[in-house]
Amino acid sequence: MKLDSMYQEIILDHYRNPHGKGLREGDAEVHHVNPTCGDEITLRVKLDGAVVTDVSYESQGCSISQASASVLNDLVVGKSVGDAQKVQEAFLELMQSKGQSEGDEEVLEDAVAFSGVSKYPARVKCALLSWMAWKDATAQALAQRPE
């Protein structure tokens, strides 16, 4: 069934047991919403020098938006900001591929499971919600730094 390409087992696992959920201390906080289906996320980024030490979040929404926040936490925590941004860009490209890309597993790890979601335009925003929030929060955290 076509649905299985969207709701891959990995996605449903992350949805049922989200990684890193809950709000912890951070350098910047943002709140993003997906007006089409009401998904919401409040997300904080904690940086230590050039390293992303934590991404914490409180969120409500559909399985795709929840799973994607969990995968985001897995992928960017512990990476340098530069490497994390490369992952974010690769994920964005995958989600904009309209089902044409399978994603680079080296870079995206579990996030390649979202390639099926990219075929459903209405759901792409769900998958991108936490990633856009992370991008925004990271930019704010960097901007706040003393010179």
Partner: protein, 428 residues
């Protein structure tokens, strides 16, 4: 599509001959996703269109297309007669005392914005200013909230609203405190697009009239489904939208009482709405033209006229009876689904054919996606009534909404689909 075992359908009374009706709607013949019949349960968002409406649009463009009210040639006269003929049909459909009380707009949103702006720019006694209060309800569509928020922000008027009871009805217990001598306008929805609730018009209109407030009724979810008689309602303005009642998009209606339309100022200026224009000032055409600046949606108005002919052919009482039977059956069967919570009245009494619900903790977006895979079209989200979701502490709902072509078998398909959703997400 599966038929419910034991076919409880035979006991349903008041159903229309949907086999015949469905033949008029080309899109209902569509098969989706490798051969699944379309089960279209998103009628509160927009209705499908019968061939008769599609033909009216085509014939207009193929045979009569011209601008209205401006030409002396044959086509211009035909186009004007068709456009104004549509106004006559609308006037008769809502029992308006005069055809000149029917203003064509592009949708219900524009109709409601038009009223709010007429009142914002009006002279006394209608003027909404910083001493005035405007009363709406917590179950309004955003189209009947935001125009009043804008008006009150711009004028300093105070915006107040009726709250909701736990079973999805208006809480009228504080009506005397809400609607007071200061109230200039009371605007409320006749049938809620998210809860399905049919509101008690009489009680609200009586109180509004006692204090001399104008009454605006949003009939967007009523006009498609039941007899709407503007004289019986007792309102001053009634708004609705063509695309939810078998008509095309791009056409809406604002009905207003004649004296008010005479007195109130225009909102949009342009061609059509004037009498004379000089460089320093203009005088305006009488209503309804005063409120129809520019080239109107001509084909769309004609399409709406054809939709009204179609509805009249069936009879609005018959449409209402059909939907009532389907709604009763749907409510009953939905309540059989484990973990399903109806947001709104849990019976078919004083309720329209839009039914919102949550399904355990499965997010509506996921419910809608899995239903879509089975060819079932529902709407998910806050349905442009976010305050209702906040009121009931939910992020969103799944909404199934029925119309004159909906069948009990489609209700069964929905129920089967919901069981499948539950098993897909490991709930059942």
């Amino acid at each position: 599509m599966t038929i419910h075992p034991g076919s409880a359908h035979r006991e349903l009374t008041g159903l229309l001959d949907t086999d015949a009706i469905r033949k008029d709607f080309p899109v209902l013949q569509r098969l989706l996703h490798d051969g699944q019949p379309l089960v279209y349960l998103d009628n509160a968002a927009t209705s499908q269109k019968p061939q008769q409406v599609l033909d009216a649009l085509n014939t207009y463009y193929e045979q009569h297309n011209a601008n209205v009210h401006r030409g002396v040639h044959v086509l211009a006269e035909e186009a004007t007669a068709l456009y104004e003929g549509a106004r006559d049909k609308v006037a008769a459909f809502i029992n308006a005392p005069s055809r000149d009380e029917v203003i064509f707009t592009k949708n219900a949103s524009e109709s409601l914005n038009l009223v709010a702006n007429m009142l914002g720019w009006a002279d006394e006694p209608y003027r909404v200013d910083s001493d005035a209060e405007v009363v709406i309800t917590e179950m309004e569509h955003h189209s009947n909230i935001v125009p009043w928020q804008l008006l009150s922000q711009r004028t300093g008027a105070k915006l107040k609203w009726f709250g909701l009871t736990d079973d999805g009805r208006l809480d009228l217990s504080n009506i005397e405190q809400l609607i007071t001598e200061k109230t200039k306008v009371v605007s409320f929805v006749l049938v809620s697009n998210i809860l399905g609730t049919v509101n008690p018009v009489e009680a609200i209109v009586r109180r509004a009239q006692d204090v001399g407030a104008l009454v605006v009724i949003d009939a967007s979810q009523a006009a498609p489904h039941m007899v709407v008689d503007v004289q019986a309602l007792g309102a001053d303005f009634v708004a609705f939208t063509g695309h939810k009642m078998l008509g095309p998009t791009g056409i809406g209606v604002l009905w207003g009482r004649h004296e008010l339309l005479e007195d109130l100022p225009p909102f949009l200026g342009g061609g059509e709405m004037i009498e004379t224009v000089s460089m320093s000032s203009s005088t305006y055409a009488p209503a309804p033209h005063k409120f129809e600046a520019g080239t109107p949606p001509i084909a769309q108005a004609i399409g709406l006229g054809a939709a009204i002919d179609y509805l009249n052919g069936i009879g609005m009482d018959a449409v209402a009876a059909h939907e009532h039977a389907i709604t009763r059956y749907a409510v009953e069967r939905l309540l059989e689904v484990p973990d399903l919570r109806i947001i709104g009245p849990r019976t078919a009494d004083d309720r329209g054919a839009a039914i919102s619900f949550t399904l355990g903790d499965i997010h509506p977006h996921d419910v809608g996606q899995v239903l879509d895979e089975q060819g079932i079209a529902v709407r998910v989200g806050h349905h442009c009534a976010r305050p209702v979701c906040l009121r009931y502490g939910i992020p969103a709902t799944t909404r199934a909404s029925f119309y004159l072509y909906s069948t009990p078998a489609e209700v069964d398909a929905l129920i089967d689909g919901l069981h499948h959703v539950r098993s897909f997400f490991g709930a059942g």
